[in-house]
Amino acid sequence: MEKIPEKIEESKKLSRQDMAFCLATHPGSERVVFGSSDAGLHEVDLAQENPEPVSFSGEHGHSSYVTGLARGSGGLLVSGSYDRRLVWWNAETRTSIRAVDNAHEKWIRQVTASPDGTLVASVGDDMICRLWNVADGKLVRELKGGHATETPHHYPSMLYACAFSPDGELLATADRVGHIVVWKVADGSQVRTLEAPVMYTWDPDRRRHSIGGIRAIAFSPDGRQLAVGGIGQIGNIDHLGGPARLRLFDWEKGETEAELESGEVQGIVERIHYHPGGKWLLAMGGDHKGLALVVDTATNKIVSETRTPANHAHDFAFTDAGDGIYVAGHNHLTAHDLVAG
């Protein structure tokens, strides 16, 4: 599906009591694995009329919210959690293989796999990105020193997001105050830093704390553009009542190509994926409810914004054909059709 979708229509919904924070697809099927606030991993086959989730099990597991999940090579899944632990899983048997305790000193926010599936990257609030060998679970490299542990206002910062470049040679990380680092995977050196401070709202007068951060980051399929997402310039930071934000960089030049904000639909962007063809990107998130923004990458403009029927979306992935998405969110896992004009 190369055409820019005009509608996002919910085709299937699995209502849940828990929150689904992350997901991984199973190529060649409609099976989706998601990480949950119940500290578990669950798989559901959305091809079934009445899909029933099946839980993963085994010697190793999590004890808190599962916030990161990536599919590596060799039929392996790697999950990360607020419990600071990474767990390796056999995707077919749905059983755990190994765990790395204290993979981070603080809460793990995201786990993502390299394009060839041999590495996974994890980011946590210790402000370090760690690269792990998918096959044996060994630590390959630490990418550290790029993100301050404190905000300018002397509060703990958070390292929310990471993404590999399409060729797997680079990895970008982004934090709460809008600082972005592009790293060279091979040696852990910093290639470029970028800033999107608009994603961080510090209220010095009325409430004296902050909200926001870059929650989503993605390279375009050609590797030229880097998109980050979050929320910014919120009047009342008690709520997610501000415009969803995207900033598009020509990262090699260090230039901002576009600063985009939603109109009527408000909330925070939790995940960005470029469509495989590269002609458009989709950003999802929300406040209480879900939101979806479609950006035409030829014009770098938001061409549609949708309030999704389901609640806040935490993660999504394209279907194999690219004509639909699976969404993990608050109290739901859903499938949607992308309807072109």
């Binding site: 009591q17 828990d18 929150m19 606030s37 119940d38 500290a39 004890s63 808190s64 919210y65 916030t67 607020y82 419990d83 809460w107 609030d125 206002h153 002397h154 509060y155 703990p156 958070m158 007068d205 009325r206 409430r207 004296r208 704390h209 902050s210 909200i211 951060g213 008690d238 709520h239 997610l240 009542g241 909330g267 929300g286 406040d287 209480h288 409810k289 609640n311 806040h312 608050h330 109290n331």
Partner: protein, 438 residues
């Protein structure tokens, strides 16, 4: 109720010496905010409580967690439950007691702290709940009650003191108005000195074009004329007028008390660079100087969205400030005559909303207390496994209020009078939480 290792009796006599020493070289302050009085009420009688109590040098520091901090991310975690959120519970220095992993410093000091986990205060509105928690009851339609600070300013403040009886730091604007009606029928004499924008009271500096000698001579002249005018006149308003001038003069001569730069850098560094931390340090300075009641408001905890991010940001600060304040008071020998209370107007819902927020919740929440007159290492009350209801030892705003009064040696059933109407400090039937009292 956990076993209580030991008590924390107030040894007041020891403190008197250090206080005098402190006063002798650092202050003689008064409060411009205390100008004015309400002479029509019997409540203004200076001898309404015993003079001995005033001589004890006891003080209260209220850490006012405005907006409502989450009990689940502080004192009453429920890890692994659907309502529990992502943070773990960690063991504390009291066997069997766990608190949120966001509070590792207080966890190490838990044997010096008491926690109430069974507050059911029944009011989820910021304004009305704040008024209630600060008074121990709701105002009547035709009568506002004085708040905790005004009562302690009256009951613990000395008539001859030149320091303010009640100082309030509230720098954030959100929720500040909920704390403004303070002294009610006690009158402006016991209202707080509000330090909102700055830690230094405004306009206490002598004008440049008035010399020190001129300033002193003006004061002498005013005193002479006032004394002559008052001769043969028995009038509360005149007395109050003279006292207010004395306090202002004291205040003007004591800039140093309000100047945090006078505190050693090492102490300031221990507290940390945030405004809340610096104000907590100022509270310690105030108490050390003899201010009976200091409120340090830390707003704004109202995390309807992104509760876990907000608490990951704010609770470590609270943890550090409370732990540093506790250590500082203890090392100075002040913990035995200073009571520290940390609470807000309510807690937050166990249910997590779609924005990963928690909303207002007054049915089962927590407060913490340590220092003068209260037990150490005690946990009072219990909530159910999801934190939805109080399971044991339910208490309300009145009981907390009565406990604070009793811990400071003030009888909660003492009565003021508005006209001929007796007004007890707490509503009839309300008692202090006895197991928490030392």
């Amino acid at each position: 109720m956990n076993p209580i290792p030991r008590q924390s009796g107030c040894r007041v006599q020891d403190h008197e010496i250090s206080r005098r020493a402190f006063l002798s070289h650092s202050l003689a302050v008064g409060s411009g905010a205390l100008l004015g009085t309400s002479g029509a009420l019997h409540a203004l009688d200076e001898d309404s409580l015993n003079a001995q109590l005033r001589s004890t040098g006891r003080s209260v520091i209220l850490l006012w967690l405005a907006g409502g901090a989450s009990q689940l991310e502080t004192w009453d975690p429920k890890p692994g439950r659907p309502t529990g959120g992502p943070y773990a519970a960690i063991p504390t220095s009291v066997p069997g007691v766990h608190i949120s992993e966001l509070m590792p410093q207080m966890a190490k000091r838990m044997h010096k702290v008491s926690v109430i986990r069974s507050l059911n205060t029944g009011d989820g509105g910021h304004g009305t709940a704040a008024e209630m928690m600060l008074r121990g009851r709701k105002n009547e339609a035709a009568l506002d009650y004085p708040d905790m600070g005004a009562i302690f300013a009256k009951e613990l403040g000395r008539a001859d003191s030149k320091v303010p009886g009640y100082v309030s730091f509230y720098s954030q604007s959100e929720g500040r108005g909920n704390t403004r009606k303070t002294s009610a029928f006690l009158g402006a004499r016991f209202a707080p000195m509000n330090l909102d924008a700055d830690m230094m009271p405004p306009n206490i500096t002598r004008l440049d074009d008035i010399s020190g000698l001129d300033h002193a001579e003006r004061a002498d002249l005013r005193d002479l004329l006032s004394a002559r005018f008052a001769r043969g006149r028995e009038n509360e308003t005149l007395k109050s007028h003279a006292a207010a001038y004395a306090r202002v003069q004291g205040l003007m001569s004591s800039e140093e008390l309000f100047d945090i730069e006078k505190e050693p850098q090492a102490i300031r560094d221990r507290y940390g660079p945030t405004l809340f931390a610096q104000q907590a340090l100022m509270a310690r300075r105030m108490v050390e100087a003899g201010v009976p009641f200091v409120r340090v408001a830390r707003a704004w905890w109202d995390s309807h969205g992104q509760n876990f991010e907000t608490h990951a940001e704010m609770v470590p600060e609270l943890d550090h400030v409370m732990a540093t304040l506790l250590d500082d008071l203890e090392q100075r020998g002040m913990l035995e005559h200073t009571l520290v209370v940390a609470m807000g107007e309510f807690g937050r819902t166990p249910r997590i909303n779609g924005s990963l927020g928690r909303d207002h919740f007054a049915s089962a929440w927590s407060a913490a207390i340590f220092g003068c007159g209260v037990q150490r290492g005690a946990v009072y009350g219990k909530t159910d496994e999801d934190g939805l209801t109080v399971a044991e030892d339910e208490v309300g705003a009145g009981e907390v209020f009565a406990t604070v009064l009793r811990a400071m040696g003030v009888d909660p059933h003492h009565e003021y009078h508005v006209g001929v109407r007796p007004i007890p400090l707490v509503n009839p039937g309300i008692e202090a939480i006895r197991p928490l009292l030392a």
